[in-house]
Amino acid sequence: MTVRVLVADDARFMRQLIRDIIEPEGFEVVGEAADGRAAVEEFSRLQPDIVTMDIVMPKRSGIDAVKEILALDPTAKVAMVSALGQESLVTEALQAGASDYIVKPFKPDAVIETLRKLAEKAP
């Protein structure tokens, strides 16, 4: 079964990069969001299997968006997208209920492995 992914990042560059990494591996990017508020709205509308969530975004941070998504659906699977130096924010996101994280600049194999692991994880 195809795994449906919502990609939330304020940079078009990063959204395209994630799409190009995961789509050839059988994941389907069902939607994109350019800010935290849109990420929550698109999550509600699309009900994806996995969300990749950038931390630094306008309107609502990725961490606040994760909290809202988990309030809507406690079984939601969210992989945070972090940069080096954001370890404390990643910890905060994981404590808030994010499932895992991927690090920028992306290593394609690591991104795919993380999303596969999440896809296989029971809700």
Partner: protein, 133 residues
């Protein structure tokens, strides 16, 4: 990775980001407590860092990273806390614009702005950056 495709995306998005940073700096020049503008510049520097690192443009990512760190500290303090802080950001913006122009013209990674990086690493950096301008 289709480098040409991502170089084009980088040039488009970096040009937009730098224009937005320039606008925000004009506001910060008048009001160093303008928190929305500090947030905007912080976020866009973060984005420049990520794009630069993804394409191997180390000069872009290193400079954006230093400026992001500086902004992170100002963000926590709620204002750009020294008189010459905005001058540092303008100098950084100018350097990033030059780097993006080099990528546009040559398609190659730009060289680092070693003088600015060294000045930013120095505790007396605002004065030293000022002297570089």
């Amino acid at each position: 990775m289709d480098i040409a495709k991502y170089r084009t995306l980088f040039l488009e998005e970096a040009t937009e980001h730098l224009a937005e940073i320039g606008q925000a700096l004009l506001t910060l020049e008048k009001d160093p407590r303008a928190s929305a503008e500090i947030d905007t510049v912080f976020r866009l520097m973060h984005s420049m860092k990520g794009m630069g690192a993804s394409l191997g443009y180390d000069a872009v990512s290193a400079l954006a990273h230093r400026l992001e760190d500086r902004l992170g500290a100002w963000r926590k303090g709620g204002r750009i806390d020294d008189a010459e802080g905005v001058a540092v950001l303008f100098r950084g913006l100018e350097s990033l614009e030059r780097m993006v122009a080099i990528v546009r013209e040559t398609g190659e990674p730009p060289p680092p702005d070693a003088a600015l990086l060294a000045a930013l690493d120095d505790p007396e950096s605002p004065k030293k950056v000022r002297r570089l301008s």
